[in-house]
């Protein structure tokens, strides 16, 4: 029983992390129909930022996620301006492959500059702290990340559904030209969306440094899972991505414990295929 509870909590917590990582990707996909293949490398860059800030200036990632968020906002915006905007609409897969090139570039640049070492901040504020719920142990860093994930997802949802800017974003997503005719500067919206997408993954990466090691390859599996989360959730639906992330966290955790640990990612990818074949537009897709 306590096993069950533990596995459940682990699943939810990793689901929340995946939701945080995927939120930005989902937004970009929804508004622009572009998959940012470098998403995982954005995550890595954010982790490096917080790692180095923590390592050199001894600032805890609990604070530096702000810096990572801001830097990644800029990185996202620059990526849009220099790469996405110029490849968009040229060929079906051009933005996807261009960002694939970007991911290779970023990954190996970090490898070249920072060496492939695994880097882990020790002695952070949250490091190793835990608390108990009904016999199950909850790790504080993961818990805090989970809270952030909820906050970010709710904030994004609120931004999109309840604000003027959100309207502009929705309008742009539905019909770019018509939005322009309403006086919405869609270029700016795209820039902003890519920036926000970056910022979300920046926050995620920042918080992850409280308990995960950073290395040039860290983004790989996270980005694959983020792709699956976003597609499973359905075209650009933030609640969809959230639900999908939790589902995937749970599938991973339960398969890992009750079936076999080596099968947990098989189960994650398989659940995507099964769901998507029944609902070709994802859980919440339209």
């Amino acid at each position: 029983m306590s096993n069950f509870l533990q596995v459940l909590i682990d699943g939810i917590l990793s689901g929340l992390l995946y939701a945080l990582v995927a939120a930005g990707l989902s937004m970009i996909w929804g508004v622009m129909d572009v998959i940012n293949f470098a998403h995982g490398e954005f995550l890595m860059v954010a982790m490096y930022i917080c790692y180095w800030l923590g390592f050199i200036f001894k600032v805890d990632p609990l604070f530096t996620w702000v810096a990572a968020g801001i830097f990644l906002f800029i990185l996202g915006a620059v990526t849009y301006k220099w790469i996405i905007r110029r490849s968009l609409g040229k060929a079906a897969m051009a933005p996807l492959l261009a960002t694939f090139g970007l991911s290779m570039f970023l990954k190996n640049l970090c490898m070249n500059r920072f060496s492939p070492n695994f880097r882990l901040l020790s002695g952070t504020l949250l490091d190793g702290k835990t608390f108990e719920i009904g016999g199950a142990i909850v790790s504080v860093p993961q818990f805090v990340t989970g809270i952030f994930s909820l906050v970010v997802v709710v904030a994004l949802y609120w931004l999109v559904k309840r604000t003027r800017l959100g309207w502009a974003i929705q309008a742009t997503a539905m019909d770019k030209e018509a939005a322009e005719l309403m006086g919405i500067d869609t270029e700016k919206i795209f820039l902003l969306v890519f920036g926000l997408g970056g910022a979300c993954v920046g926050v995620a990466g920042g918080l992850m440094t409280t308990y995960l090691a950073v290395h040039p390859e860290v983004g790989g599996l996270f980005s694959l899972i983020a792709f699956v989360v976003v597609a499973l959730g359905g075209f650009g639906s933030i609640p969809g991505a959230f639900a999908a992330a939790i589902l995937i966290g749970l599938v991973e955790s339960f398969t890992g414990f009750y079936v076999a640990a080596v099968l947990k990612y098989v189960a994650v990818f398989a659940i995507y295929l099964v769901v998507i074949l029944v609902r070709p537009k994802g859980l919440f897709g339209w």
Binding site: D10, L120, S122, I137, H215, G256, F257, V262, K264
Partner: protein, 394 residues
């Protein structure tokens, strides 16, 4: 002087790149020892300049296999055919060493292996392949011997065993050998947990261990996974009585530095540690400080140092053969015994399958980032902390 080229084929990029780069640095350090005058170092070939009275110098040609067997294979070919290297040292990952050494064997060229640990490598009947490291089989036997000793002498009461290993060539071999050894020693395996390397979390893996609650755990995880594993155990607040690791993660100083006190009280098999070296391998420390640390910014580790040993062995054999004659050199490596200041046993001697018969590893336990030797008794320098100190008491 004439150059004798030696390829150093390691994973310079990709997931194992940290260790791969250490290995190259280690080989380069050994080459420096050989090529320059080092009267301060008391090792074969250190004092003089080059080989055969200065007639030859060693030139290292580094190459990157990215952790990919197919790349390792074609890079090995390039090194032998294009770069005309006399021998290749590599490849760290057993999975890369296999096809790369197959290239050498087919071409009848020498291939030297420092630390790849898969027992299968020396079960192929190759004539030009030599390996320094103890295999997983040797280490597994040592691990269970140690447990038997603990049970007998310290009343440790260790009856059950869990194995956690990455699902790769390395991890699977290690786990196979662990199972065999455990069977012979009557240890019951209650948890057998393979995991995907590079996983985003190890929650369910550790939870499995925890719920089976074995007395001892054998671990086979590379750097990042190792620290994730340790941290996850801390998170779920669980420890076995004793945890012993095969190579890498545990013995990597960089990883341990990052784990800090969380890394304490884990054990592992190693052939080198600064602490061991102080006692038994003073010359290795000199080489380390003079040629290795300036490159790698850290002390030798038990994996990478073995690559240096293999270059020293090769150099001694060339010296004896009087020049780079593959057949002669291979024959000498096969038959002779070599003194080795960087091996714990102090010498290297290959049995007919190419495995170093003198391969030795000791079991160490980590205390405050120091590797203290706890077994075998001959090398023992301190008493083990048993069982491991629980997380909340640290």
């Amino acid at each position: 002087a004439e150059e004798i080229k030696v390829g150093a084929l390691f994973p310079l990029t990709g997931p194992a790149a940290v260790s791969g780069q250490n290995c190259v640095n280690s080989v380069l350090a050994a080459a420096d020892v050989i090529n320059t005058k080092n009267p301060d170092i008391k090792a074969p070939l250190a004092a003089g300049e080059g080989l055969v009275g200065g007639k030859y110098v060693i030139k290292i040609v580094p190459a990157d296999h990215q952790g990919k067997p197919d790349v390792a294979k074609s890079e090995a070919e390039r090194l032998y055919n294009q770069e005309k290297v006399f021998a290749v040292i590599g490849c760290y990952n057993s999975s890369a060493t296999k096809p790369a050494s197959a290239v050498a064997e087919r071409a009848k060229k020498i291939f030297l292996c420092g630390c790849s640990s898969s027992a299968a490598l020396t079960e192929r009947g190759y004539k030009y392949f030599f390996r320094h490291a103890p295999t997983d089989a040797i280490e597994s036997v040592e691990f269970v011997d140690y447990i038997a000793y603990l049970n007998k002498e310290k009343n440790a009461g260790i009856k059950t065993l869990g194995v956690i290993y990455e699902n790769t060539e390395f991890g699977k071999h290690a786990a196979d050998e662990a199972r065999k050894a455990a069977k012979r020693a009557d240890l019951e395996i209650v948890a057998d947990v393979p995991f995907n390397n590079g996983a985003t979390n190890l929650n369910s893996e550790v939870q499995k261990l925890k719920s089976a609650n074995p007395d001892a755990v054998f671990g086979a995880a590379l750097g990042g996974d190792y620290s994730l594993w340790v941290r996850t155990m801390k998170q779920v607040n669980w420890l076995p009585k004793i945890a012993i690791n095969y190579c890498t993660g545990y013995q990597n100083p960089a990883v341990q530095k990052e784990l800090g006190s969380d890394g304490n009280f884990f054990m592992g098999g190693m052939g080198y540690s600064p602490e061991l070296a102080k006692k038994f391998m003073p010359e290795a420390i000199k080489i380390q400080d003079k040629y290795y640390t300036p490159r790698s910014k850290q002390p030798f580790d038990s994996d990478s140092i073995q690559e240096a040993v293999m270059l020293m062995v090769l150099a001694q054999a060339i010296e004896k053969a009087g020049g780079p004659d593959t057949e002669k050199v291979a024959k000498i490596i096969q038959t002779d015994e070599f003194p080795s200041v960087m091996s714990l046993s102090g010498r290297v001697k290959f049995s007919s399958d190419g495995q170093n018969a003198e391969a030795l590893s000791v079991i160490t336990q980590l205390h405050e980032q120091k590797y203290q030797t706890v077994f075998p008794l001959k090398y023992k320098d301190s008493e083990p902390t048993l069982p491991m100190t629980p997380w909340d008491k640290r």
